[in-house]
Amino acid sequence: MAGKTMAEKILSHVAKKDVEAGDIIIVDVETVFAHDGTAPLAFEEMKKMGVDTFFDPNKVVIVTDHTTPSPSEKISNIHAFLRNYCRENGCNFRGVGRGIGHQLLIEEFVKPWTVVLGADSHTCTHGALGAFATGMGSTDIAGAMAFGKTWLKVPESFKILVEGELKSPVSAKDVILKIIGVIGADGATYMAMEFFGETVNSMGISERLTLSNMAVEAGGKTGLCPVDGKTIKFLAEHRRKGFFKNLKPDQDAYFSKEIAINAAELEPMIALPHTVDNVKAVSEVGELDVDQVFIGTCTNGRFEDFEIVAKILKGKKVANDTRLLVQPASWRVYLKIIERGIAATLIEAGASINPPGCGPCIGRHLGILGDGEVCLSTQNRNFKGRMGNEKAYIYLSSPATAAASAITGRITDPRDFYH
């Protein structure tokens, strides 16, 4: 019998039986999450099912992150409804200013070797901590919130071997953009993307989260990273002390597709409008003016991201005709960039800091683009209209490329600014 992939190992553990790719299984869900864009519909579906209680309120998390603080009466009413519903039913609620659901789940809830479901496509992020984490729609989430179970097809896995030393400021974002550029926006559809190799081992948790976060942009069901000493340490520092077994794929596991990336040769990468797989090296883009630079989101809104940004912006100014928006992924990140003086560096350079949340990434407020404008963002998606205007152009890059471009006012290779 062949060995197991990471996905098969986690799902065998959760199903309490030996499972392999292709099996359809019903499993217990450890953490289930929805936000202000998807929770109202999930609660409506629960009502239709005739269920008005959660299977376990401690395992249900609702976050108002997509449009926060509220920019309209309609959204304020949705937020009020969610706040009241959560209070009455005793589940976890994280409101204005707390941050992006994914970041809060990482900081507070996710455990390796469990199933995590979210009514948000970027739930694959949590695979970086060794959870089988995947996004679903509101009806599936309603079922999970009501019964604590879901059905899954054990996915085939895509082996992504990353080896070689990344040359700063080239980072995890450049790695994942490169991968998506090579395999395409549907290259891993229905599959678990499994990231491993010496480069992944040497990455911190923040960088691994960036890899896993974008698995869905290649169609992936989840994006898994190994569980090692770094994962266990991260969990212990974030209120999840306990015994968590290490996780890696077996030597003889069966992968239906594979790709190898040489990190040492990698340049800063960028995705051009309007698909995430439209990827080039930054050095190939040529002269292109940028109206807005946005640094934040569940992809790249963590402390480590802002640390690199501050290194590049220190003592410099944002270009006159360019706006720099910065948005920490959570209140903890916000507090830390204030304590370490990073917030001051960014503000002195000319950045505007948004309160923790999803912000302009989903195009509802806090930085909607104008007609014909160009935005360089550290987010994960550049679809037409994503940032609220179908006549705008969204480019995706690492925080380092975004910071360098904010200084020059045009798409810029960060290696020119990094010493």
């Binding site: 864009g37 998807t38 979210g118 009514a119 739930t123 729609g137 079922g143 549907d186």
Partner: protein, 166 residues
């Protein structure tokens, strides 16, 4: 399950959920939001679309967000089935959960023209092109998913199972 008969509305590759229903319309009730379906690339779609029509698309239909409003607005417009070269995973699951057959067929998008009348047998995955008088073979849905579609979606399906106690 009954054979689905309808007129074809054609789309290309990588039709994402921000195209199917832009995020700013998510706060609208589905009956209002459906007027905005496909707005970024085909603003007149909701007005032109005729009830019980069938969407034919290329690769990776429904990629992007998990928003269930995407298949929900299509259902509200009366879309009776979606045939694509491939579907994005979450959209596929949402579509089935709402009771809409989602069939994968590699040739459909290249062989079928906009406005053509076709018939689909959900159980067998057969797609008949009435004017061209040819039949294409699409994917066969597993029995587990066909049951959900037959019951009209996941909620009626779960309810039925809970009541019958299967």
């Amino acid at each position: 399950m009954a054979v689905i008969h309808g007129k074809v509305w054609k789309f290309g590759d990588n039709i994402d959920t921000d195209i199917i229903i832009p995020a700013r319309y998510l706060i609208l009730p589905i009956e209002e939001a459906k007027e905005k379906a496909m707005e970024p690339i085909r603003p007149s779609f909701s007005k032109e679309f005729e009830k019980s029509g069938i969407i034919i698309a290329g690769r990776n239909f429904g990629c992007g967000s998990s928003r269930e409003q995407a298949p929900a607005v299509l259902r509200a417009l009366g879309v009776s089935a979606i045939v694509a070269k491939t579907f994005a995973r979450i959209f596929f699951r949402n579509t089935i959960n709402l009771g809409i057959p989602a069939i994968e067929c590699k040739e459909a998008c290249d062989k079928i023209e906009e406005g053509e009348e076709i018939e689909i047998e959900p159980e067998t995955g057969k797609i008949k092109l009435l004017k061209q008088a040819i039949t294409l073979q699409g994917s066969k849905l597993p029995p587990f998913l066909l049951e959900i579609i037959k019951d009209g979606g996941l909620i009626p399906h779960l309810k039925k199972r809970l009541i019958i106690g299967v």
